[in-house]
């Protein structure tokens, strides 16, 4: 059975929050995973102290990731889901996901 690295949704209605988990591909989203290796908060936060040179700072999203565990699980063949692929690509753990434009 395939082991996947994927997101598990927590939080309330309109207030999503994700654990980045390693789980069996066929298990339920809310089921207890093999391991939690990080979190992802999709709600953008606005940086504080917006003045001076900071005025046009972009809002940011927070990711927490245990790199060594992520590398281990990728090394033993765990497959990241598309959203996790995107996050891990930004963290530099995997090659960035090719866009449709690149494929063509």
């Amino acid at each position: 059975m395939v082991v996947r690295i994927r997101l598990a949704r927590f939080g309330n209605k309109h207030n999503p929050f994700f654990n980045i988990v390693v789980a069996q591909a066929r298990s339920a989203r809310g089921a207890k995973p093999l391991e939690v290796i990080g979190t992802y908060n999709p709600i953008p936060k606005r940086p504080t102290n917006l003045y001076g040179e900071n005025t046009d700072a972009r809002p940011y999203k927070e990711i927490a990731l245990d790199r060594s565990r992520a590398k281990y699980w990728l090394g033993v063949g765990a497959q990241p889901s598309d959203p996790v692929w995107k996050l891990m690509g930004m963290a530099g753990l995997v090659a960035p996901k090719p866009t449709t434009f690149d494929k063509a």
């Binding site: 927590f10 939080g11 929050f17 654990n19 980045i20 207890k32 995973p33 391991e35 939690v36 290796i37 990080g38 979190t39 953008p44 504080t48 102290n49 003045y51 700072a57 972009r58 809002p59 940011y60 999203k61 927070e62 990711i63 927490a64 990731l65 245990d66 790199r67 060594s68 565990r69 996050l87 930004m90 963290a91």
Partner: protein, 390 residues
């Protein structure tokens, strides 16, 4: 059900009143059968008497009052309130007037606020003279939190002035006239303290009543009492003998905050309650007072010692802050993808049995836990942010 009264007949009886005010055009237009000319005819029936040519008695009295007694209120004296009640209590107690901004509410007594000069002096000392918040707080007798707030607000004001934004200056002036203010001392004068700066809120742990028998031969002071309140075992004799006064601990903890011991295990672990000498905002003032008592004739030497102590404390605090910031920055990678509207802050975390616990339910690990009740709706849970992330 009996037939309802038609709404038109009702509005007809109201018409004279409606037309007397100019804003009734909308209510009139809802009645198509009546033109504006006919409504004017209706209103004339009620104003048969001619308007009086001379002033009414009340109006005449009003002008009499305005020209005699009331003339003092015509121009407002800067720095004072302009209340009518001043006539009644003329020659009364002037001192209490400043702290009671609302004369009809004697129960409201206002605390003093910072005067403009004092406020600007705070900003000047912190930003331009680069003094630490702690030193300025002691010099001017203002709480450290208030110092920080004043600096932020003056900064904001300066920025708004630079941007040409309108400021509510008349409002600020009026408030400063209403409530008492703490003035900035003249050169050579002693600055009056704005508020007590070394206050300490009661710690919740000290709320319990504990019956704790102690042998007469044993010394039992604030340090020991804190340990009892937090449920920690008594100190070793050798350890206790090193502390000659509880304020010695303040120095030690300032240098090494990790020297405070812990009680409890896992999620219940908490630091041992320290004596008030350590927890007050300015522990160095206690040390200074002890120095003064020990050397009553060497004022200069005591002052030098104190300034050295403050410098060291500031240096330590600054170093600690920078180390923390560097560690935080080292752990975080900021990625700004071209095609995205957002930055992504990727923080390194570590998941080990230490953080997650053996059963995976540990409270220290990042992320939401499995199999543990989510206590976000429990009573007393603070849900609003209590601090601002940098």
């Amino acid at each position: 059900m009996p037939p309802r009264m038609q709404s038109r007949s009702v509005s007809n009886t109201l018409l004279p009143y409606l037309t007397s005010s100019s804003s009734s055009s909308s209510s009139l237009s809802s009645i198509p059968s009546l033109s504006s000319a006919s409504s004017q005819c209706l209103s004339r029936q009620f104003s048969a008497t001619a308007a009086p040519q001379a002033q009414t008695k009340l109006r005449r009295q009003m002008f009499e009052w305005l020209n005699n007694e009331g003339s003092v209120f015509k121009h407002h004296v800067p720095g004072e309130t302009n209340y009518l009640t001043r006539l009644k209590q003329r020659g009364g107690n002037e001192g209490s007037e400043a702290s009671r901004p609302f004369p009809n509410n004697q129960h409201f007594i206002s605390e003093p606020i910072l005067s403009e000069e004092l406020r600007n002096e705070v900003y000047n000392r912190v930003i331009e003279q680069k003094k630490s918040v702690r030193v300025v707080s002691v010099e001017l007798g203002i709480d450290m939190k208030r110092i920080a707030a004043v600096v932020r607000l003056v900064e904001l004001e300066k920025r708004q002035r630079a941007q040409g934004k309108p400021l509510a200056l008349p409002y600020a002036r009026a408030v400063h006239e209403m409530v008492p203010t703490t003035p900035l001392a003249e050169k050579g004068e002693r600055q009056t303290y704005h508020e007590p700066i070394n206050d300490l809120p009661a710690h919740p742990l000290t709320g319990t009543q504990i019956f704790y028998p102690v042998p007469e031969s044993r010394s039992f002071d604030r340090v020991e009492a804190g340990r009892v309140f937090s449920g920690a075992p008594a100190m070793e004799h050798s350890e206790a003998a090193e502390i000659s006064h509880p304020s010695d601990l303040a120095e030690k903890i300032m240098e090494d905050p990790n020297s405070i011991g812990w009680v409890g295990k896992g999620a219940n672990a908490r630091q041992i309650l320290q004596p008030a000498d350590v927890r007050i905002p300015h522990p160095h003032l206690v040390a200074q007072e002890r120095d003064r008592l020990a050397h009553p004739n060497e004022r200069r030497a005591v002052a030098d010692l104190q300034s050295k102590r403050l410098e060291r404390q500031d240096a330590l605090e600054k170093e600690r802050r920078e180390r923390l910031q560097a560690r935080r920055e080292k752990k975080t990678t900021i990625v700004s993808p071209e095609e995205s509207r957002f930055d992504y802050r990727i923080k390194d975390t570590i998941y080990t049995t230490e953080t997650t616990g053996v059963d995976g339910r540990g409270s220290k690990a990042t992320g939401r836990r499995y199999g543990v009740p989510h206590r976000d709706r429990t009573r007393g849970e603070v849900k609003i942010p209590t601090r601002v992330e940098a």
